[in-house]
């Protein structure tokens, strides 16, 4: 074992000459040393160093070319991707409908792309597509709005209760719950309701209540009263009138009267709650009390 240790020491060039001599005294180790010495004198074939380097560099040049080609292409792709995304985003956003909504006691005037004017009454909404407007004048309405349409191609107002179509006129559309009112102030309006089509000339009003059609010839007015902050009714259900009152004033209504089906003809102001309540209650022999924002309406005879 000691000899083995010295052998390794010698193979690592750190054995002393005495140790080597000692090792050589063993014929076995003498042979090993001889083999080791002879092996040291051997050499591997000469490698083709320059040819290999050429292969390597040509390989690297090819790689480089690929890299050079790829980088501008990749950055171009990135730019293209961002542009495409922006374009898609823009197209998507511009294809979305424009929506205008009003809150309780709020009215809004808007101008459509063709300069047609819309006045939206409280708690109503319209939506239309700006992009397609030049080809198709069409909007959706929930609630009530007054339209002053400039002349042009067909202008349609779609509601859940029916479609109102005009060419260029002034008209008011009211579509709430089961009540569908159209008042035409100028020109001619056609109303599609269920499967029927009704032509409505200027100065007339169409009223559809719970699917029953009532046609009135009225209106000396040239615009709906609500646009000058007054709501007018003719033979309207009291509940409809009170609903409108709740839309024009942010109030809570408690009703304690017997005859729910009373009808009301008249108007109330949007600017003075007291006056408005009086206008509604007095003709119907009703009384009311105001407690902060809560209003109770009851029969006069039984307070």
């Amino acid at each position: 074992m000691e000899k083995e240790y010295i052998l390794h020491k010698w193979l690592n060039d750190s054995a002393t000459s005495e140790e080597l001599e000692y090792l050589k005294t063993s014929p076995e180790y003498n042979t090993l040393i001889k083999i080791a010495v002879i092996s040291s004198g051997l050499e591997a074939p000469e490698s083709n160093s320059e040819a290999n380097f050429k292969t390597i560099t040509s390989n690297l040049i090819n790689n480089k070319r690929e890299v050079k080609k790829l980088i501008p292409f990749a950055s171009l792709l990135k730019v293209a991707a961002v542009l495409a995304l922006l374009l898609v985003g823009y197209l998507y956003i511009s294809s979305l409908d424009t929506e205008v909504q009003t809150q309780i006691a709020e009215k809004q005037n808007i101008l459509l792309p063709d300069n047609s004017e819309v006045i939206i009454n409280a708690n109503s909404a319209i939506s239309y597509n700006k992009k397609k407007w030049s080809q198709q004048r069409e909007l959706k309405l929930t609630g009530e709005a007054y339209f002053k349409v400039t002349k042009g191609n067909t202008f349609s107002v779609k509601t859940s209760l029916g479609i109102v179509t005009v060419l260029g006129t002034q008209f008011n559309v009211y579509s709430r719950d089961n009540l569908f009112n159209i008042e035409c102030y100028e020109g001619l309006v056609s109303v599609a309701f269920n499967d029927t089509l009704i032509k409505l000339p200027a100065g007339s009003r169409l009223s559809i209540e719970n699917g029953v059609l009532v046609k009135h010839d009225i209106s000396i007015l040239s615009f709906p009263n609500w646009t000058i902050n007054e709501s007018s009714f003719e033979n309207a259900l009291l509940s409809t009138v009170l609903q409108e009152l709740k839309r024009q004033y942010p109030i809570k209504l408690i009703t304690k009267f017997n005859d729910v089906n009373q009808r009301y003809t008249g108007s109330f102001s949007h600017n003075d709650l007291n006056l408005a309540l009086k206008s509604i209650c007095d003709p119907l022999h009703l009384a009311y009390t105001i407690e902060e924002e809560s209003i109770t309406i009851y029969d006069k005879e039984s307070p």
């Binding site: 083995e4 052998l7 390794h8 193979l11 690592n12 060039d13 076995e28 042979t31 090993l32 001889k34 083999i35 080791a36 002879i38 092996s39 040291s40 004198g41 051997l42 050499e43 591997a44 074939p45 490698s47 083709n48 160093s49 040819a51 290999n52 380097f53 292969t55 390597i56 390989n59 690297l60 790689n63």
Partner: protein
């Protein structure tokens, strides 16, 4: 080679190649005995070094190259017989000896040469790195990613199997 040099510079890369390519080539040759394969693996190793030039500091280039080529052999590459020749620079000590002795010596040399080709890949690589490349056990252990103890074992095994084979020839 100053440690600040970057292998990504072509001139530096060429310097690294010049200083290491033959050593790496021989290392591969000791393993497989196939010159064409040694060429291929040297090329692969240096291409990989170039591709990783940014991550490989110049002082790590050598161990990087050895690791790459060493790993190439992990999946047992079929190897040819390693053929080594006498170094021309070997001092001719046997001149003064008798012709009989010279003949015997020559025979002995040939046997050693042949027997080396029959060693296992692990034994031969360690043995030749020590004998021909003059590397210490510590270096060999590092290059082959094994322990010094394992190098020692391979050396002992290599020497004794060489001796056995040579003595069998004699008999």
């Amino acid at each position: 080679m100053s440690p600040n040099e970057n292998i990504c510079h072509e001139s530096t890369f060429q310097k690294v190649y010049t200083s290491l390519n033959k050593e790496i080539w021989r290392f591969i040759y000791y393993k497989c005995g196939d010159e064409a394969q040694a060429d291929d693996l040297v090329q692969d190793a240096f291409i990989k070094l170039w591709q990783n030039c940014a991550k490989t500091p110049i002082e790590k280039a050598k161990s990087f190259l050895y690791t790459i080529t060493n790993n190439a052999f992990l999946n047992e590459i079929a190897h040819k017989k390693v053929v080594l020749k006498y170094s021309k620079s070997q001092p001719d000590k046997i001149n003064s000896e008798s012709p009989q002795y010279i003949l015997e010596e020559k025979e002995f040399h040939d046997k050693v040469q042949r027997a080396i080709g029959n060693l296992t890949e692990g034994q031969r690589t360690a043995f030749l790195l020590n004998r021909i490349e003059g590397k210490k056990y510590v270096e060999i252990a590092e290059l082959l990613d094994i322990s010094v103890k394992a190098v020692e074992k391979r050396m002992s095994q290599a020497l004794s199997s060489l001796r056995n084979e040579i003595e069998n020839f004699k008999a």
